[in-house]
Amino acid sequence: MRVINILSGKGGTGKTMVSSSLLWTMSRKKRVVGIDCDVDAANLGMVLGVKITRRKEIETSEKAFLIEEKCTGCFKCVDVCNFSAIEKGDKKPVFNRFLCEGCGSCELVCPENAIEIKTVKNAWITEGASRYGFPVVSGQLKMGESGSGKIVTEVRRTGERVAKENKSEIMIIDSAAGISCPVIASVRNTDYVIAVSEPTPSGFNDLKRAIKLVEFFKIPCGLIINKFDINKELTRKIENFAKEKGISVLGRIPYHKDFVDAAVNLKPVVVYKKKYREIFENIAEKIYSWFE
């Protein structure tokens, strides 16, 4: 099985549009599985009409909890916390569960053993079948919880089990925006990265940062330029940059209201309008030949 990761650095460039359309296109010829690793705000299942068959609450995060009766208010924990997650309350420390990383330093330093590090249920993982036949696994962080990196790892593990059951040949991972831990966790150990960019100064800047991350992990990479016709000159500059980096340009997607309409109708654009199928078929062919 080959694992492809879709990322972009900048949000809103069209990762989910590309993931969903590529999944649909490839599913005509191969056995595929879709994984939504944008655990802060998982959208892939929506556009693929996924009927959830399995739902699991998981705990990947640990947090510090105060055992009030044992606490003497020495506040040693406040001083030691590197993440500003503990504040001095009236008589006892106040723990901010949003900032707490569960590192355990407070537990170690507390002279009264009044702090306990416990695992918390911080996310959902769902499995289901898309309306086009292939399976989709998604993760969604519970509101206000942290630890997206670890959740992505769990989502991928579930995805690998589903892929094995399904005898999938290709796995496509829709990543989060940005380049911090949830993206890093989805990029690690994949075979190929597809970077999706747009010809705007932010799009180009964020692409460069995302490419540095890909180089850091030494993963081969291809580029898709979305909304390429809003600034053809910048598109050319981005393609030149890609060539210098040894990144192949897989395709260019035009800017059109169809893409928004497809999203509003919760369908991959290639299902909503047949005329975009050719672009994605070409992209798929380029990827297949790379894998050979």
């Binding site: 900048k10 929506m46 989060a176």
Partner: protein, 276 residues
């Protein structure tokens, strides 16, 4: 006033709204624009403002004094990030890239053989343009935690407090630790969304988060004429959160954005009027 511009979904136009808002506000009062999208800061590009680095951001990491080390392996045991490798009979090996600076190893070492030093995790930049000050934070590539970098930028601004009347904070997309750290301390959050199912879905997530954080919110619909506005109106009713502005899709906005000049549109002025 300290206002965050956020939204959950990427690409809805947070940066366009923050920069345009800061531009309008700075005409009359001293305004700071804080770009806390530390993974991919963009505001300096949208406004074509030249930035200069003013500070490196460091995070504490352990320093081992092997003359005191008894090779007990306790440091490796308490390290939850696999940053310390311990092989029996050998001194521990430290892997700085894994370290998140929690200090557990220093605390746990029975012979006090571990002290603290630092590693770089990001940079703070400062620039001036269009009448406003801009401070942006940028995370080192490959580093995982956005939260500490955001907090360092906030600390820096607090320390170099220049008497700003307004601070506009541009957050990153999503609802993760970097966003939470950026939102904390804000008096108001403007949630920029788009009238699509994705926009609606992510808007709900961010409104839930803001509810828990106790920060009042308002909604701005960007590209309001493309898609289905009713999706957002329903959320507005459900969360009893007012929609204070709608920005239609306009080629002039796209042009300004791709050229790196601030967006001057009457819709932004309208939003400001409502805010006042």
């Amino acid at each position: 006033m300290r206002i965050a511009v956020t939204g959950g979904k990427g690409g809805t136009g947070k940066s366009i709204v923050s920069t345009a808002l800061a531009f309008e506000l700075s005409k009359k009062q001293k305004t700071l624009l804080m770009d806390l999208d530390v993974e991919c800061p963009n505001d300096h590009l949208i406004l074509s403002i030249k930035r200069e680095k003013v500070k490196d951001i460091f995070q504490k990491i352990p320093k081992f004094d092997f003359s005191k080390c008894v090779k007990c392996g306790t440091c490796s045991k308490v390290c939850k990030e696999n940053a310390i490798v311990f092989i029996e009979g050998q001194y521990p090996r430290f892997i700085p890239e894994q370290c998140t600076g929690c200090n557990a190893c220093c605390i746990a070492c029975p012979t006090k053989a571990i002290s603290q030093t630092e590693k770089k995790i990001g940079e703070i930049y400062y620039g001036k343009g269009y009448g406003m000050d801009l401070v942006s934070g940028e995370m080192v590539i490959g580093y995982e935690e956005a939260g500490p970098v955001v907090n360092a930028v906030k600390e820096y601004v607090k320390k170099t407090e220049k008497g700003y009347k307004h601070i506009i904070i541009d957050t990153s997309a999503g609802t993760h630790c970097g966003v939470i750290s950026a939102l904390m301390g804000c008096e108001l959050a403007l949630c920029v969304t788009e009238p699509t199912p994705f926009g609606k879905h992510d808007l709900e997530l961010i409104l839930d988060l803001l509810n828990v954080l106790g920060i009042p919110a308002k909604i701005i619909i960007n590209r309001s004429d493309i898609g289905d506005k009713k999706l957002i109106e329903r959320i507005s009713k459900k969360y009893k959160t007012e929609i204070i502005g709608e920005i239609p899709y306009k080629k002039s906005i796209l042009d300004a954005y791709s050229k790196g000049v601030p967006v001057k549109e009457k819709e932004i002025e309208n939003i400001l009027r409502v805010l006042k």
